[in-house]
Point group: C2
Chain length 144, copies 2
DNA sequence: TTAATCCCTATTGACTAGATAGAGATTTAG
DNA sequence: CTAAATCTCTATCTAGTCAATAGGGATTAA
């Protein structure tokens, strides 16, 4: 299961992607219209900023905007920031590989083989879905 | 990431699948040869028993054996017991559906659409991998 | 210089993961 | 029949994580 943080992050980013072309948007606007606890959202956006997914503008009339084109921000990108690796085991993570603590011999581990296939399938999907396509879906279904 | 409990469960079940035809195997044998804390393994096997994945035999010379043919026990079956639903969100879980707490309108949720595709991809893989095929892989690579 | 914004650190409460302890119940060998 | 070996059950502990909140500090523009 993804965390609440991940849900908030995705909702906030979709908000930015949808109303994206009129300068920065304030935390409080996002928090109110997406029903996200304001302080929690601050922390989330700060993390997203550190990885370049969003950009911030300080001072009066400051706020947040996407750090790059919406079509270049995938669901995988976001989940990796909020929830860590997509993989079901560190030993099959591409972005954050680590040997399992008690692994005997990785090359013949039957568990690893299954988890690796699962990771590849998940990553293939989540890397192909991005904010632009998601926002477009919303527009098509009349939600925007 | 899967839990430590899931790892232990899978290792224990592979142990049973590999040495499966000579009557029940004791917890202590599994615990020692798979390096799993004994008491923790007891709890895990008890849970696996409740769902029919293993069968127990009490008393002297008792122990555990698989509850059904190894080819009918998928990785998905095991992970569902130890770690809950495979899905990344309750609203896309097939075995344990639940509406998201703060969902506005499920049918047009763009997040849900991506998570649904991810669930299907993961489930497809994990339901196709089973203890029999995993044990066979181990045999082929000379681990048994 | 003031007000609006983002930035940062610390803290809290609830919950879960992983592991352990100690008895109780059941079966079978002798 | 009884003793030993097994599984069964309930309770507990510790450390860590999740979700949320608090209270300022830094920056910018009007």
């Amino acid at each position: 299961m993804i965390s609440q943080k991940a849900r908030y992050a995705l909702r906030a980013l979709l908000h930015l992607a949808a109303r994206g072309d009129g300068g920065p948007i304030q935390i409080s606007e996002i928090a109110e219209s997406e029903k996200i606890p304001r302080k929690f959202l601050e922390a989330i956006l700060l993390e997203l900023k550190k990885t370049g997914i969003v950009r911030s503008h300080r001072g009066r009339a400051g706020g947040y905007s996407l750090g790059r084109s919406a079509k270049d921000i995938s669901f995988a990108d976001v989940l990796r920031v909020t929830d860590g690796p997509l993989a079901l085991s560190p030993c099959v993570s591409v972005m954050a590989y680590r040997k399992c603590d008690d692994c005997f011999e990785e090359s013949i581990c039957a568990i690893r083989k299954a988890l690796l296939a699962a990771r590849d399938a998940t990553a293939q999907i989540l890397e192909s879905r991005n904010l632009a396509s998601a926002a477009q879906q919303l527009r098509r279904s009349g939600a925007l």
